[in-house]
Symmetry: C2
Subunit: 337 residues, 2 copies
DNA sequence: TTGAAAGCGTTACCAC
DNA sequence: GTGGTAACGCTTTCAA
């Protein structure tokens, strides 16, 4: 049985309240009493029972994070950064992976809420915001990376429109004129990136045939590359081959690039490729992959700040939003000059 | 304010105890009463307060995991597998990253214990077991990947000696005769892998000069590659160059391989390279990297089983141990035939 | 500056 | 089958 606050109080001949005050250095306590208590606390290696504390204070010091996939570099970086930032504020991170399954995600969220989290952070893979609506009754909610039109919520993510623009501008600057896009799912993220990409092309007077915009299913890591490879085949089978591709994420880009190299397409001379996410292994590839960086580390730390601010707020004000600007990381796969 | 068990009881004209029984389908309750309660519970979207439940049952349904680095593919795979397996058993995973800092690790562990975890799982980066000794007073402890001689504890990991042997046998079978090893830290893992490697060489009558066994500092992800590159330079500067290298982990191997390719060394013809860990991006590299697979997913699920078994045990018996057998994954970097 | 009493939301125990 | 009562370990409030 672990030592309890009460045990220490009895042993030292003071009340439990006094010990409690000493531990949280409450002002209403004499220095001598406090020293005496803290010394004994250390000797006994006493650990306050946060469960009991939570019950009475109503705050758990637990923050929940639900992501589609913990192996995905983008999300593991966020998890790491968030966990580190929260630690300094005295919070703990509970993590769950939804395996990109909306039902499982909803399930995980429900379970998490039973732990009376101080805040829940979700990179959601839901089709719509229906499930998330009732979540909000449980406390603070922050959406990560992806939000839902019509669902007003705290949010941290990047400017996806800008990401698409950046990629397009870069490829055009490298001399590409026939630009294709292997796009992502039909949600806010996929749509905005495609829109930004196409808008930039239009500004430069470049036409993009419909057959240059390829759809892919949303996919877990394993399948993602295969989808990229398949999409590349479809692009290269066309009479007019594209000379530049922007892929929704690096996984698709890697798949596309590997297939291109296999089939003898020279990269970047014949075909420039750029992805999105800037996964940490991009620079280790046979041809290092250019990518639009989503700033996972900053997303994590901004989320931590937002959490602190939400918890500090006495009443729930209007939703907070942090939209970060993506940055371009140019490597060999798109560098033609 | 969320709905409480008590509220439901009052509304339905039954006692709190009865509602509690219905929720955990306790046998001592009539079917009709139970149905009535469960229906209302669902309507109200009631979520039991696990904090309160924990306080009275003494079990938190929280499992802690502390790893050196969440971005490290080996550990993120373990985290994912463990989290998935635990979910099915009704447990939750709390994750913390120690950034490979022993002091920070100890700190994280202390904090975690305050949450009254049902079990703590640690992939430790401590120098010795001193800090972990007093952790055990807090409940169950499982060491992951790395254990400490003289510290008897539950453990899940691979047979590191075997890992070294596998790598050596493979390189020898590929025709290598001058084998080098870029070794890991001087702990149980680094030592055993080196021992297994050298023992296999000896069995085949191969000599290994001391200058072929290179030391590296323990290092986080960013620096790991640089260390590998540096080690490769030292090896290739020798009069007699090695024709095969076993690296302690894939990060070192990638660094070494990239430097080798940069300097015009042909892989695997002049130099065969094999790493350890089988990171998910091994097959995406310019020259796909051979590796000894540590079975991260199985480590995660075995840990989950062990957790369940430890918690079920009324009294703490002798430590449980699961030593998995590593497997060889051959790719282009070492395949000479 | 200290502490007694009341409670946080739930479950265990044992009467009925 | 059902429910009253007493915890679980801590903090809050307020009187001394």
């Amino acid at each position: 049985m672990p030592v309890r606050l009460k045990d220490i109080a009895k042993e030292l001949g003071v009340s439990a309240v006094t010990v409690s005050k000493a531990l949280r250095d409450h002002p209403d306590i004499g220095q001598k009493t406090k020293d005496k208590i803290l010394r004994r606390v250390k000797e006994l290696n006493y650990r306050p029972n946060l469960t009991a504390r939570s019950l009475v204070t109503g705050r758990s010091s637990l923050i929940g994070l639900v992501v589609p996939d913990l192996i995905h570099p983008f999300f593991s970086e966020i998890a790491k950064a968030l966990s580190a930032a929260l630690r300094q504020k005295g919070y703990f991170l509970i993590v769950a992976s939804s395996d990109s399954d909306p039902a499982l995600e909803q399930n995980e969220i429900e379970h998490m809420l039973q732990h009376r989290l101080d805040c829940l952070v979700v990179a959601s893979c839901q089709k719509d915001a229906a499930g998330l609506r009732q979540v909000r009754t449980g406390g603070h909610l922050i959406l990560l990376d992806r939000n839902f039109p019509g669902f007003s919520s705290n949010f941290v993510g990047i400017d996806d429109y800008k990401a698409g623009e950046l990629a397009a501008e870069h490829l055009i600057a490298q001399g590409c004129r026939r630009l294709a896009h292997i796009r992502g799912p039909h949600n806010n993220v996929g749509n905005r990136r495609a829109e930004g990409f196409l808008a930039a092309l239009k500004r430069h007077g470049l036409e993009t045939p419909d057959s240059y915009i390829l759809e892919t299913r949303e996919s877990a890591d394993a399948a993602g590359e295969a989808l990229g490879a398949e999409a590349l085949d479809r692009l290269m089978a066309q009479a007019q081959r594209p000379d530049g591709i922007f892929c929704f994420n690096d996984l698709l880009a890697v798949g596309a690039m590997m297939r291109a190299l296999e089939t003898g397409v020279r990269i970047p001379q014949e075909l420039a490729i750029i992805g999105c996410g800037n996964y940490h292994y991009c620079n280790k590839l046979g041809v290092p992959l250019s990518s639009v960086d989503q700033g996972a580390v900053e997303i994590g730390s901004r989320a931590a700040e937002m959490i602190a601010s939400l918890i500090a707020q006495p009443t729930s004000n209007k939703p907070q939003t942090a939209i970060l600007t993506p940055t371009l990381v140019v490597r060999a796969s798109s560098q033609r000059q």
